[in-house]
């Protein structure tokens, strides 16, 4: 096991896949000469040259569409967004085209493309730069949505994403790029898409959290353990397909569940997982499922309001206390 930063794990995945398949190329704003706005693509230009590591203008709609067309013609584009907050400009290409072309053309074309970049908030960047989009993309048929939390998951899943025959939304976080973790040394390390991972075992409550929220939940787990409450922490890793089997199995064991979701509450992953849990494990539940999400309000700039806005460990603990009737 090597200890790598999140960004290094991503870089390894991209590097290995570019090395393996010359149809894989990467494009996006500042990915080449600048070595990546967040240094995920550091060194790739030197290694693979200008043909396969491409700086784009600030034309998200245009370069995403160029990616879709290139994918239809047999290439495997990795399209980097500086953040998914800017991918909304490319929503037409992702939602109307990448996700639908295969179906509309009766299976005649495939769109093997990865759209990747940081998701959600990264400190006080105000309303337009702070939205968690994973649930939104998951709403649409035809898209795989991955939002890993640790370097190991990031590497194995990004390699799967690049090999996937269908469009994949792969989400990261500015605030996770520097995080370190052990990454498998296994040659050609692949994690299958759609498999959740139980990252902490416990009998008292099931907590579901992905991406940046996984780390918030993990912190809450450590606090709760001091009070003798053992959390079972599940990282879905893939938001869609969502591994409900693993989740239901855990809920049947703990009989209680809290879902931590970085998106706004309306129609998010928490709402969806909560619905399936009540349908599949109704008789096992000792308390209504709770969720911790952003409020139904935009991201404020002011530090004190921002801290109030973003879910933290305390709110996870409060929710766990509520489902375990400890308050």
């Amino acid at each position: 096991m090597a200890v790598l930063q999140f960004r290094e794990a991503l870089l390894q995945a991209i590097d290995e896949e570019m090395d393996r398949d010359e149809n894989v190329f990467i494009m996006g704003e500042e990915v080449a000469e600048y070595n990546g706005a967040y240094k995920v693509t550091e060194g790739l230009l030197d290694k693979y040259g200008f043909k396969r590591v491409i700086d784009t203008p600030i034309s998200e709609l245009g370069f995403s569409g160029i990616g879709v067309g290139a994918a239809m013609k047999g290439l495997r584009p990795i399209v980097e967004f500086m953040t998914f907050n800017f991918a909304v400009l490319a929503a037409d290409q992702i939602l109307n085209h990448a996700s639908k072309i295969r179906y509309m053309l009766g299976g005649q074309a495939s769109v093997p493309i990865v759209f990747r970049g940081p998701n959600a908030s990264a400190g006080q960047l105000a309303a337009t730069h702070s939205v968690a989009y994973d649930s939104m993309y998951a709403h649409f048929p035809g898209l795989v949505v991955i939002y890993p939390s640790e370097p190991d998951d990031a590497k194995g899943l990004l390699k799967s994403a690049i090999r996937c025959e269908d469009p994949v939304i792969f989400m990261e976080s500015e605030q996770m790029y520097g995080m370190k973790g052990e990454v498998s040394d296994e040659e050609d390390y692949i994690i299958p898409i759609g498999k959740a991972k139980v990252k902490r075992e416990g009998d008292d409550v099931t907590v579901i959290a992905s991406g940046k929220m996984y780390h918030v939940a993990k912190k809450a787990a450590a606090e709760l353990a001091k009070d003798g409450v053992e959390m079972e922490l599940i990282d879905p890793r893939t938001i869609k397909p969502l591994d409900m089997d693993t989740i239901i199995q855990s809920v049947k064991k703990t009989n209680r569940c809290v879902i931590v979701d970085e998106a706004h509450p309306y129609g998010g992953m928490a709402a969806e997982a909560g619905f399936i849990i009540q349908r599949e494990a109704f008789d096992y539940l000792d308390a209504p499922v709770r969720r911790v999400t952003l409020p139904d309000v935009h991201a404020p700039f002011a530090k004190n309001l921002f801290d109030l806005w973003l879910p933290d460990a305390k709110r996870v603990i409060d929710a766990v206390n509520a489902v375990t009737y400890r308050n």
């Binding site: 907050n85 706004h264 404020p300």
Partner: protein, 365 residues
């Protein structure tokens, strides 16, 4: 690096070299106006006022940068330093009731449109006393009552909005025009092209201004966009201009003529103003994409220094008087830091304020 000569290359590579092997500058500055202030219709007071405006913007941002480095506030901080002649020349050329909207490099624009140093600094600090109540931060300075509709953080997002302001002005027949400022990087967004077409088709009284400062983040203009930027207007049959943005008089002279034309004839106009960004894109930019010599080259044409020299050469003020103005502004900026630090953060309830004009509703609160 790629060894195969015939291999496809997409984005143009790195620094441009001219035939003598010298690195080409990222923007070529055309000459400045030769006219003196009186023949431009500017009084001595106007000139002193222009200097004040530019000096305030400069010192406000230099101090803001220090505060940021001290960790007094977070978020992004994009500095306008080097480009102050554009905001200053423009507000003197426009009527106060004309609309201005810009991108996230917006502190200078806010200050020239009446956001006080106090309100500006407090916004950077995320305080309740800020111009946007601490809700928006550096990228979202605004003062709607003064027809300054804000800084905006999505590149190109505010371009159609500027045309919308112009649409409303034409609709109401109020004689106001709107003016939109954005970077060379924003020229590549589809929103610009859709908007230029409609603005020309509908004859919207709107001035679209590219502040070409040579770079879109770390990408030199020739690496992200084709041809001469101002020539884009030709494709839409729109009037266009290109001029030097390192001199407030040049900006004033051109903007005045153009604003008159736009107002009188209800037409759009597309302008490229050439300037230079002294600082990095934001505070975390190692700036490996440009040379120090290039920066120094442009700093020789510094708009603030140029105005200072002009005022002394033309004997509009004595050196002592100029110094005391500078001292006054320095105090104003220092006081704004004090004001920002002492101001309260927004009340927690503010999180839910300003979401709706009507009855607020919050799902599952």
């Amino acid at each position: 690096m790629s060894k195969n000569k015939h291999e496809a290359i997409f984005t143009p590579i790195g620094l441009n070299y001219d035939s003598n092997g010298r690195v080409e500058k990222s923007v070529e500055l055309p000459p400045v106006t030769k006219k003196k202030h009186k023949s431009l219709g500017l009084s001595d007071d106007d000139v002193v006022g222009m200097f004040r405006q530019m000096y305030l913007q400069r010192r406000f941002e230099e101090r803001a940068m220090q505060m940021y480095q001290k960790g007094k506030f977070g978020g992004f901080l994009h500095l306008y330093i080097g480009q102050e002649a554009i905001s200053t020349g423009t507000v003197y050329a426009l009527d106060d009731r004309d609309d201005i909207i810009t991108a996230y490099r917006d502190h200078g624009w806010g200050l020239v449109r009446g956001i006080t140093a106090n309100e500006g600094m407090a916004e950077l600090f995320g305080k309740a006393t800020g111009c946007s109540k601490g809700k928006g931060g550096s990228m979202h300075f605004a003062k709607a009552e003064n027809h300054f509709w804000g800084g905006h953080g999505i590149v190109g997002g505010h371009i159609p909005i500027a045309a919308g302001l112009a649409f409303a002005n034409k609709y109401k027949g109020n004689g106001e025009i709107s003016c939109c400022f954005f970077g060379d990087g924003a020229v590549d967004q589809g929103s610009l092209h859709e908007t230029l077409n409609m603005a020309q088709l509908w004859k919207l009284p709107c001035i679209f201004v590219v502040e070409n400062n040579g770079y879109s983040m770390g990408t030199a203009a020739h690496r992200h966009t084709v041809g001469e930027i101002y020539e884009r207007a030709n494709g839409y049959g729109m009037k266009s201009a290109m001029f030097n943005g390192m001199d407030a008089f040049t900006v004033y002279e051109n903007m005045k003529k153009i604003a008159d034309d736009v107002r009188e004839n209800s037409i759009p106009y597309f302008i490229e103003i050439r300037t230079y960004r002294y600082r990095g894109h934001s505070m975390s930019d190692p700036q490996k994409y440009r040379t120090k010599q290039e920066l120094e080259e442009y700093q020789k044409t510094d708009p603030v220094e140029r105005m200072k020299t002009y005022i002394l050469d033309e004997k509009i003020l004595k050196e002592k008087e100029l110094e005391s103005i500078q001292e006054e502004i320095e105090q104003e900026v220092l006081e704004s830091i004090d004001f920002a630090e002492k101001s309260p953060f927004p009340e927690p309830e503010e999180l839910y304020e300003d979401m709706f004009a009507g009855t607020p509703y919050f799902h599952d609160r």
